[in-house]
Symmetry: C2
């Protein structure tokens, strides 16, 4: 039994042939050209999917369906992409076009929702019935597994976990509100904190690690410098851990989940990040006394979580 | 078909005989005496339940069970009250004692979780599959209905919706964290804002409405004075609406629910409160463009929601 999973991004559309074990058996990557009309882009996606099937000696009827994860606001009932800033798509009938173009049924979900489904089901084998996943990249994405099922909310627009207030009247967010967690806990925010600290501390080791060019800053730099005892880097890391820790504590009080899964660029810090977060949250007593501590985990499936989760809609 | 629903509070334990339509057919109220050992209090509760059955010519076997809503942290699997600051109960085996004392099976849940179940099921007849309920009283309580089912989280400790950060490093909260929504959006917070405004504005109409005694302040005063055009009251109401509105927008982004239900003292403002919140949230575009607006509703069942929701565990 196979399904095709598609992870649509601003640069490329990754199509994977996924088996019932959640393994990506083969893949085709279709480049996206920003500015192309959506009909052209989706036509190329369908060609890519058909190529993927053909080179595996499969016909459309040999797969259960095509699951698609989309970066943006979807309507899962209508099968449309209502708006995707990354793709510049608005009111695009994606499901209809893919179903026609490939000759097999399709479904869509938000890309972060696809990722948490992939991780909870195939990364962690349904060990945790209630999961909050936070993707720490350009923004803060999120996904929810509630009582063993993907929670998508009205029209599939739920789980925008990066857009809850952490700082009332705080930094302007792209969503139109102010002070969203995304503005403080994303990789982008970590890089901003790092650059600010570097400007204030010309002596910081972080300059060396960037080859003295502030444009080379990435989210790994402050963690690397902090390990070597750099005080400015420690300040950056501590501040970031506080923002991310408070965000996690918020979701802990709301969901009391069995596990948090962290993914995205910042999650590459692995155990170092997890241990610092655990220390921070333990000092806050995880919000309450007498409450079960959730597991803090790093995502297992890497870049494939989106493909696998999207395919999972048909597995 | 009947069940008994119990709503335990710091002052009294309300026991209701509830039929399958969610109607409270009869009730007995048992007073609680703070400082009594829990065995005595629970013994009196069991006597009250047995009295309720007896005066309705029922035996324990004529009911499906006894559902109990408890103010505090429960463990629904073990059937224990882990901690309840209101009752001064810690690690109390409530389910075991009630099951033995009444001679019929019992279950527990958090009282705010019981209330949302009662409202969603019997107040609003399952019209809304995804519901966020906020109880605006001494604190901010909360409950979640997710895909048509009560969401309780790990051990039944989920949905502490008042304890998410609205203001990083803000006001100290009783839970140990800082800046929780409870500190800004509860009736207690509204009264604090009102008293502060009165101190600053000795000319405010709010003084008259309080008989010139600041100890008479309640949550209705600023709304009443604002209706009559009092500027200081308008400032209080606007500020409170902002806090509550931002809290609602946060949960909207997380859950994209079909409806919010507001209950507790502040919700008595009814349509006036709802309309102000809608205006505020509309200006923020409910967080995103192209997203469905949830309904903003006032709870229907009043003080009985807890009894009915608790009984609903067996209906």
């Amino acid at each position: 039994m196979y399904a095709v999973g598609v992870d649509i991004g601003g640069m490329s559309m990754k199509c994977g042939l996924v088996n019932e074990k959640g393994e990506v058996v083969d893949r085709v990557i279709v480049k996206t050209t920003l500015g192309d009309p959506y009909e052209k882009t989706i036509g190329e996606l369908c060609d890519g999917i058909k190529e993927l099937l053909k080179k595996n000696y499969l016909t459309p009827n040999d797969i259960n369906g095509v699951g698609i994860g989309v970066p943006g606001a979807v309507n899962i009932k209508k099968g449309t992409v209502d708006s995707s800033a990354n793709l510049k798509w608005y009111n695009v009938p994606l499901v209809e076009l893919v179903t026609q173009g490939v000759g097999r049924q399709a479904r869509i979900t938000n890309d972060a929702n696809a990722a948490v489904l992939g991780e909870a089901r195939f990364g962690f084998k349904w060990k945790y019935p209630n999961v909050v996943m936070l993707t720490l990249g350009t923004g803060v994405g999120g996904g929810l597994i509630v009582d063993g099922r993907l929670y998508e909310g009205n029209e599939g627009k739920g789980a925008e976990l990066g857009h809850i207030t952490l700082v009332l009247d705080g930094r302007q967010c792209g969503c139109g509100r102010r002070g969203c967690a995304e503005q403080y806990a994303s990789a982008t925010a970590l890089m901003r904190l790092t650059r600010e600290a570097m400007e204030d501390h010309k002596e910081s080791l972080m300059w060396q690690l960037c080859d003295n060019d502030i444009n080379n800053v990435n989210g790994a730099i402050p963690f690397a410098a902090e390990k070597q005892g750099d005080p400015a880097a420690k300040q950056v890391v501590d501040e970031y851990i506080k923002y991310l820790g408070e965000t996690i504590l918020n979701f802990n009080n709301i969901f009391r989940p069995n596990a948090f899964i962290l993914s995205g660029g910042v999650a590459k810090q692995g155990e170092n990040l997890v241990n610092k977060l655990k220390d921070y949250c333990a000092k806050q007593n995880w919000g309450y006394e007498n409450t079960p501590e959730p597991e803090l985990l790093i995502a297992q499936l890497g870049y494939d979580s989106g493909i696998i989760g999207a395919a999972s809609l048909y597995l």
